[in-house]
């Protein structure tokens, strides 16, 4: 017997739950301006998330998928990408999307039952929210293939969950990315729960990152609640993909602090202790502590920023609430480039 191949999975963490920086921290840990911007984006999306949940609870929004606890992973994606790169989200990555120019009112419009939310203010080549799990991974791989074919220095970045990493679409995407060395980065945001099914029931694999090893692509596990680690890893992953050095799979280990969606009740399947323990590791506290320790953030700044976020998000909520439903005929407006005659007749029957 001989060993034909050996593999290892690296775990990256620089900022511990108390905000203490490891000795071997990367350069991004010294870029306080970028870290403050990252923290501000995290705080803003958390304010938004609480508002959205309240809107749903008061009957002003449909089912909504919270991003509570995912802020470092999501915002770091947005911060690491360029506008010309292409983002293929699942359906709770508002933290990344706000950085890319999507407006809160557009998120609300979508979850408020209006397709116009998908015609958002972010980059026009970014994908809309994707509900069929993991299918977006293949769309990102296809986008990366388009960029490679046209020799464009652009990267496609996609997000999938721990549950989504069980699907063939995920495997197909990382497989294709490996075979063709595509400018593709897949982030598994492992939040431990696929609705009620825990991570351990998705796969016997010790890490989800190691799935990338089977596809022959660079793979790493990151503390997804450590914004510095997320920024460092994503900066590197996107830079090497852009340089033609290959795709990467990033497993960001985090925790879904809220229910799966507002239609879910997580108390049915997980204990309070687990959630309490997860709160101790949540991403904002540690980045805030680090920035405060470096003199880049303080209570006054925190208060002022949260007030500003409240004002901005409230204005977005107002804009959403003030919007009128589309006319009935809107169902027919974008079915085909040109509406077939028989469907045009149905449009007439549907009325205004």
């Amino acid at each position: 017997m001989s060993i034909v191949a050996k593999f290892a999975v690296e775990h990256v963490q620089y900022l511990d739950p108390e905000g203490r920086l490891a000795d071997h921290a990367p350069a991004v840990a010294q870029d306080l301006e970028r870290l403050v911007a990252t923290y501000q984006a995290m705080a803003r999306v958390r304010v938004f998330d609480a508002k959205a949940i309240n809107l749903q609870r008061t009957g002003k929004l449909g089912t909504y998928a919270s991003c509570l606890g995912h802020e470092a992973a999501h915002v770091a994606i947005g911060m690491a990408m360029r506008p010309e790169d292409c983002f293929a989200p699942m359906y709770r990555e508002y933290g990344a999307q706000f950085v890319r120019g999507v407006k809160p009112r557009e998120v609300l419009l979508y979850w408020g039952g209006d397709e116009r939310g998908n015609d958002f203010s972010g980059p026009k080549h970014d994908y809309p929210w994707c509900v069929p799990i993991a299918t977006q991974c293949l769309h990102a791989a296809g986008a990366a293939l388009a960029f490679r074919t046209r020799r464009e220095p652009r990267v496609a970045v996609t997000v999938v969950g721990d549950g989504g990493s069980s699907k063939s679409d995920f495997y197909g995407a990382i497989n294709a990315a490996g075979v063709w060395n595509l400018p593709f980065v897949c982030v598994i945001v492992n939040n431990q729960w696929a609705i009620s099914v825990p991570r351990r029931m998705q796969s016997a694999a010790e890490t989800l990152a190691q799935k990338g090893i089977a596809a022959g692509i660079a793979s790493v596990q990151v503390d997804g609640n450590d914004a510095i680690a997320m920024l460092d890893v994503l900066d590197r992953a996107i830079a090497r993909a852009r340089a033609g050095e290959g795709p990467m799979l990033v497993e960001a280990v985090t925790y879904r602090l809220h229910d799966h969606t507002t239609a879910d009740d997580a108390r049915r399947y997980r204990g309070e202790d687990e959630v309490k323990a997860a709160w101790a590791r949540e991403p904002m506290k540690r980045l805030r502590a680090y920035l405060a320790g470096r003199g880049a953030w303080d209570d006054a700044k925190e208060k002022a920023w949260l007030e500003q976020c409240e004002r901005e998000v409230n204005a977005e909520v107002d804009a959403y609430l003030a919007s009128s439903p589309p006319p009935t005929r809107a169902m027919f407006d974008h079915l085909y480039a040109e509406l077939p005659a028989d469907v045009a007749e149905q449009r007439r029957l549907a009325g205004q």
């Binding site: 998908n118 069929p132 299918t135 293949l138 791989a141 986008a143 388009a146 497989n175 075979v179 469907v343």
Partner: protein, 326 residues
């Protein structure tokens, strides 16, 4: 003028469009060096290179998902499913995404992909290689479903499919891939989508069909002509959107209609055509609409497949039944 078979016409259209439009790429299993299992893509890899003629890993879901990704980012992918029996893993991406991208993004993103697949029975192929699943796709808003029935229509309709700004499912009747040759000039002239082709004029009954069954319908029309019965034959060609007007016009003249397709009868596209005739041609008809279709069974393995497919004799009987009225 080149004389080509239907499959050669497919190749001719692909090559023409790849030369004309650098955004056209072909992807699928064995489409590169091997030129496809039916040789539909033969010569393309040599001419356009492996980056535009992509041999993919063996994963139909992946092929469909990549095609959606390519199409939504400005490319014109022509994806091949090796046989129609393998399109089902692709259906998620076609139904949930390709068909909906324009609508769900309010026109911000479009998905002009073509999914080609050899379609239908009659070549003594193994299990899962002989089905006719067109109705499953024709049911989906936002899609076009096209089935050519001659070399010239394969060429002209495939060009149109690739140039169409919306997703097109392009099923190729493999039974007549090499049945005969005809002159198909490589002039880049597309045929119109969304219209039926009247292949033979008649006055006593209308045969409405598509794909390989066009052959048996024309034979049936010949047989009946010898008896003095004049049968009109319509190749529907684009099953969705459906050009019902051409069929209505014919039925207004012949007052009798027989719909022929090799897919199972129940829930087939023939049911939709019959329903529309009931809605709009009730008083033109002097006989109930007949359907001569595949049985409501699974496509059998090939010892029985010719007993399953609508034969010329069954079609003639169907016409005789409508002729018994009025």
């Amino acid at each position: 003028m080149p004389q080509v078979t239907l499959i050669e016409a497919v190749t001719q259209a692909l090559a023409h469009e790849m030369a004309r439009d650098p955004s056209v790429v072909v992807l699928g299993e064995d489409v590169g060096v091997n030129g496809g299992v039916f040789r539909a893509t033969v010569g393309l890899s040599e001419r356009f290179g492996p980056e535009r003629v992509l041999d993919t890993p063996l994963d139909e879901t992946m092929i469909a998902g990549l095609a959606v990704g390519l199409a939504t980012q400005g490319m014109k992918p022509v994806a091949e499913a090796q046989f129609e029996g393998f399109v089902f893993p692709m259906f998620d991406h076609i139904y949930c995404h390709a068909a909906r991208f324009r609508n769900r993004t309010r026109g911000r993103m479009t998905c002009p992909l073509v999914l080609r697949a050899p379609w239908g029975g009659g070549i003594r192929a193994p299990e899962h290689h002989s089905d006719a699943p067109e109705a499953m796709f024709a049911h989906v808003p936002g899609l076009r479903v096209v089935i050519p029935s001659s070399p010239a229509r394969a060429y002209g309709l495939l060009l149109a499919a690739i140039r169409d700004p919306d997703p097109v499912i392009f099923f190729e009747p493999k039974r007549i891939y090499r049945q005969y040759k005809e002159e198909v000039p490589d002039d880049g002239e597309a045929l119109p989508l969304d219209v039926c082709f009247v292949l033979r004029d008649g006055t006593d009954a209308t045969l409405v069909t598509w794909g390989a069954s066009v052959k048996e319908c024309l034979e049936a029309a010949d047989q009946l002509a010898a008896e003095g019965v004049s049968v009109e034959v319509i190749d529907v060609a684009t099953l969705r959107p459906l050009d019902i007007d051409t069929i209505l016009e014919s039925v207004a003249k012949t007052r009798r209609c027989v719909i022929v397709h090799e897919a199972p009868k129940t829930g087939g596209v023939g049911a939709e055509i019959a329903a529309r005739l009931a809605e709009r041609a009730m008083y033109d008809l002097v006989a109930p609409v007949e359907r001569v279709c595949g049985w409501d069974t699974h496509m059998p393995l090939f010892r029985l497949e010719m007993k399953y497919l609508p034969s010329t004799a069954r079609i003639v009987e169907g016409v005789r039944r409508v002729l018994a009225h009025g």
